[in-house]
Amino acid sequence: MEVNLNLFDLASQQARWLSVRQAAIAGNIANANTTGYLAVDVEPFSKVLDATSVGIKATQAGHIRGAGEAEGIAIRAEDDPAVMPSGNTVQLEEQLLKAGEVRRSFELNTAIVKAFHRMMMMTSRA
């Protein structure tokens, strides 16, 4: 029998991860013309879930301290990027696409939470 994760907890975790990702994307876009700036992204959500259950925060080489540190979500530079003559690796279209993904996931997240919250309230009503 699969463990019944608390849905609201999971949604909370994903919302936090999405917010950190949004901050990383914002940093990329703001520094799209900064010489030598390397584009960053957060580690995948599945890694965050695993880390939470094990309780370890891994630090790796190339680890960049960012908004997610306090929450235990690692941010690191993307591997194998396309480097421009200035040393900058940010591609605006890619970043905007990722921002779109964040938005979609966030909307689904809040909608799910709202629906289940509604259902919980329904059952406890007289």
């Binding site: 849905l7 879930l49 979609r104 799910i112 629906a115 329904m122 059952t123």
Partner: protein, 103 residues
């Protein structure tokens, strides 16, 4: 989470409520039995729909799932739940009315 909703199921099928309703139907025990089974069916469907909705939501949150599937699952769970609650309320009202009848 499903435990909270499961209590609702218990109210409808367990707890002696359906037996009372079936008993109150008197000699037409055949009607009572099918009514009870109908209620049981409705409650089971609700719990099933809720479990499905929860599973789909967990999958959607931790990975990638067709958006429409999740939305459909959650909506049908809500519909099912709403119906079950309406039935529960009607039963409770009916029971109270019957219990108030002068003997």
């Amino acid at each position: 989470m499903i435990a909270g909703i499961g209590a609702l199921n218990g109210q409808i099928t367990g707890g002696g409520l359906t037996e009372n309703v079936a008993g109150a139907a008197g000699a037409a025990s055949g009607v009572g039995a099918s009514f009870a089974s109908m209620l049981e069916q409705a409650a089971t469907n609700t719990v099933g729909a809720l479990q499905n909705a929860e599973q789909m939501s967990v999958k959607a949150l931790s990975g990638d799932v067709q958006t429409r599937e999740v939305v459909d699952a959650v909506m049908s769970a809500e519909q099912s739940l709403q119906a079950a609650i309406a039935i529960r309320d009607k039963i409770v009202t009916a029971y109270l009315e019957v219990s108030r009848m002068a003997i």
